[in-house]
């Protein structure tokens, strides 16, 4: 094969195997310890600490200790510090090779492995119920995918939801344990970690909004999860408070990937019918078919505003009303702050008042709307809610914003108050948020002539004034 002498020819494979074995054992022990720690924190009395979640399933490959390990001749562990001096030389001779996470695949289990406890919620993409894993006793969330008999087979939205969730392993993204099936081919359930609350219901039940320090902690977690998603080339496209789940340890996780998908560079053709209306960015409303992760950042802005005031920030009654609500808050766009917005499909009908602003930077939002927010906070909110997508910060820039470093500092997660769970009880969550758009709908051609016209869309409340829906 090669002229040079084989590198392992002069080495004793048995010694190597023993060393590798020892390292593996050490690694296992450390893992088991970490797992124990985690489980103790969860304070679940039902099961012993050593028990790990049904790791026989391929999807859970990363959750517990892997059921099987591939033998690698060079077992790379970052445990250099533990190597005694004498061995260090030998260690150096061997390159430390990166090990890929061991993953397997396997056929779906049956849904009968779970005992359904109670319904939690019925969303646009499926029914969610609380359920118990019969084998381990763990409580999970079971989401049944809605599969209409589609001429194209298994719905691509469902496939994307599973694919992106499987990829997005992050402490602030809900953990998809596995996919199980019922008796029928279209009985598909996602098994996810159960979380007690969603942020929307919490906000509705609270007397007072979250404290500024709490808002920072929440926002940092959401944006941290989003940064990870964007790094993995995943756009969520339906961020809203009802899709942010929270447990009683102050941890927040992004959920519902029914709208999520991979994007690319150059971006593929995308549908504009994404994101629940109240959280939908102006470029989507104006019909852009090329957009990017900025749509998620707009939604973050809306969520930020909602955390501050306890009320959804921009509650439009329809697309036209939504646009006028946005412009009411941010001021109308002009070609200085948003070059090129005129060429968006739905912007042609837009009649805008003359704007005097010549600054390129997005204007600050009116202070009167957020009286208790610091200057840095208002700054961040205004940047997130910039009409021009290019002016919005990325998730990473957002995390580095001075707002998160000034007093009051983000509250430690452990100090978060606990709340009675809505999802754990018989009660169903009821949302007043509009639903995310359905996949496969035709994008409406909107006529925004009424936005700043004689009758403002917001006054009428009906789809009539200045709103024409031309399909096709």
């Amino acid at each position: 094969m090669s002229a040079s002498k084989s590198r392992w020819a002069d080495e004793d494979p048995e010694t190597e195997a023993i060393i590798a074995q020892k390292k593996r054992e050490k690694e296992e022990k450390r893992r088991a310890k970490a797992e124990k720690q985690r489980q103790l924190e969860e304070a679940s009395k039902a099961r012993t600490a050593t028990q790990t979640d049904g790791s026989a399933q391929s999807l859970n490959g990363d959750s517990g200790p892997p059921t099987k390990r591939r033998r690698l001749s060079n077992d790379a562990t970052p445990a250099d510090a533990e190597v005694p001096e004498g061995e260090e030389q030998a260690q150096k001779k061997q390159a430390s090779l990166l090990r890929f996470p061991v993953r397997e695949w396997g056929t779906c289990r049956h849904v009968d492995n779970f005992e359904r406890l109670n319904h939690i919620e019925e969303g646009s993409y499926g029914w969610v119920s609380r359920a118990k894993d019969i084998n381990t006793g763990e409580v999970v969330a079971l989401k049944k995918l809605k599969i209409q008999s589609s001429p194209d087979g298994f719905p691509v939205t469902g496939l994307r939801e599973i694919q992106t969730l499987l990829e997005a392993r992050h402490q602030n993204v809900v953990f998809l344990r596995e996919v199980v099936m019922g008796n029928q081919m279209d009985d598909v359930y996602l098994v996810m970690d159960f979380l007690e609350h969603d942020l929307k219901t919490l906000l509705d039940e609270m007397r007072e909004p979250f404290l500024p320090s709490e808002i920072k902690t929440l926002l940092l977690q959401v944006v941290g999860g989003l940064e990870f998603l964007h790094d993995q080339w995943i756009m969520h496209r339906d961020l809203k408070t009802s899709n942010l789940l929270m447990n009683n340890r102050g941890e927040i996780k992004i959920a519902d990937f029914g709208m999520a998908r991979y994007y690319g560079d150059p971006p593929p053709k995308l549908t504009q019918l994404v994101v629940t209306l109240w959280y939908r960015s102006p470029e989507l409303l104006l019909g852009a078919d090329k957009y990017g992760t900025e749509v998620d950042m707009w939604s973050i802005g809306c969520i930020f505003g909602e955390l501050l005031t306890k009320e959804p920030l921009l509650q439009g009654k329809n697309e036209v009303d939504q646009v006028s609500k946005i412009f009411e808050l941010t001021g109308p766009p002009n070609s200085q702050i948003w070059p090129g917005f005129r060429s968006l499909p739905n912007a042609k009908s837009l009649r805008l008042p003359q704007s005097s602003s010549t600054s390129k930077n997005p204007p600050l939002l009116p202070r009167s709307r957020f009286p208790y927010l610091t200057n840095a906070g208002l700054n961040l909110l205004s940047e997130l809610l910039a009409l021009n997508p290019a002016s919005r910060p990325t998730a990473r820039q957002c995390l580095a914003h001075p707002y998160f470093r000034e007093d009051p500092r983000p509250k430690p997660k452990e100090m978060f108050p606990t709340f009675p769970s809505k999802a754990g009880m018989e009660k169903r969550r009821r949302h007043h948020t509009p639903e995310a758009p359905k996949h496969g709908q035709a994008a409406p051609q909107l006529d925004f002539a009424g936005v700043f016209g004689g009758a403002t869309g917001g006054d009428t409340g009906e789809a009539g004034a200045g709103f024409t829906l031309r399909l096709g």
Partner: protein, 298 residues
């Protein structure tokens, strides 16, 4: 944190059990026959992808999905599912998730042509080779009734594939990784890059199932090693493959496997000369029956 992003670059691999116990072998399909059908199915998928105008990454992912489906006792059995149907559904499913989705009708039209015994250019479907004069359209055009039936089968098999794979459709490919490595190594000769891609695409047909037993970085390194030697390009002196996290043992195995591929395919064409490789359950049954008779006759 260091391993969180690695999912994009790595794959779920077959377990030893999945490799050694396929559903087809449990059902009594001789392993050489299974190997031949799997290889022909991969070639069928490749041909269909080219005719559909899909990019090679979609085609390669579809072949990996196709390969995974048959593995393990829980996988699909060739005595239950026709290889041609699984090939079509893999391609359709992969394209659906990609940036270039395609319609069931296009997929089925292409498969009708490729499986036509009179019009197909594929040697293992139409041993006489592609006809010079186009034959009668009925022999390769899908009728409306045929389309409706075939569509139902396509979508049913799609669900069956998803169930068998636990809905894990992620496939990372070595092609782009290999190009990055080539740049890192400073091997800019176009011939090398071309040869690397050729090796990687050929490896999709490998009887050793390289794509489901090795991570993409290892496949990329092996293809580069082989291509550089074939093209007479000198790479750096040191054990450069270790930089890309591949040890010599694995590299050696992969290089041998990739080099043996040409001989394997030549042997296949020789063995099946003038015969069709059974891509449908019924044809497989007759082949198994034929072999049984032969054995008894001796």
């Amino acid at each position: 944190m260091a391993t969180t992003g690695l999912k994009q670059l790595s794959n779920a691999l077959a377990t030893l059990d999945q490799i050694s116990n396929s559903s087809s072998s449990i059902d009594g399909v001789p392993s050489d026959l299974e190997m031949s059908i799997r290889c022909a199915g991969a070639q069928l998928t490749q041909a269909a992808g080219v005719l559909l105008g899909l990019s090679q990454d979609i085609i390669a992912q579809a072949i990996v999905i196709f390969t995974r489906f048959w593995l393990g006792a829980d996988g699909g059995s060739l005595r239950i599912y026709s290889a041609k149907d699984v090939s079509a559904a893999s391609l359709y499913l992969t394209a659906k998730l990609s940036f270039l989705p395609t319609s069931p009708r296009s997929v089925l039209n292409v498969y009708t042509l490729l499986l036509s015994q009179d019009a197909s250019p594929l040697w293992f479907v139409n041993p006489r080779g592609a006809p010079v004069q186009p034959p009668a359209p009925e022999t390769y055009v899908l009728s409306e009734g045929g389309y409706q039936a075939a569509r139902l089968t396509l979508l049913r098999i799609e669900s069956i594939i998803l169930r068998a794979l636990g809905f894990d459709t992620h496939v990372a490919l070595p092609h782009a990784i290999a190009l990055t490595y080539l740049q890192t190594l400073g091997a800019t000769k176009p011939g090398v890059a071309r040869r690397v891609v050729e090796h990687l695409n050929a490896a999709l047909l490998s009887p050793q199932l390289l794509y489901v037993t090795h991570q993409p970085n290892a496949l990329a390194v092996a293809a580069i090693y082989l291509a550089a030697r074939e093209e007479g390009v000198k790479l750096v002196d040191a054990n450069w493959w270790e930089v890309f996290d591949v040890d010599r043992e694995e590299l050696g195995f992969l290089v041998v496997a990739m080099r043996s591929l040409e001989g394997f395919v030549r042997k296949e064409t020789e063995q099946w000369k003038g015969k069709k490789i059974p891509l449908v359950v019924d044809d497989l049954e007759s082949e198994i029956e034929r072999r049984r008779m032969m054995d008894e006759g001796e």
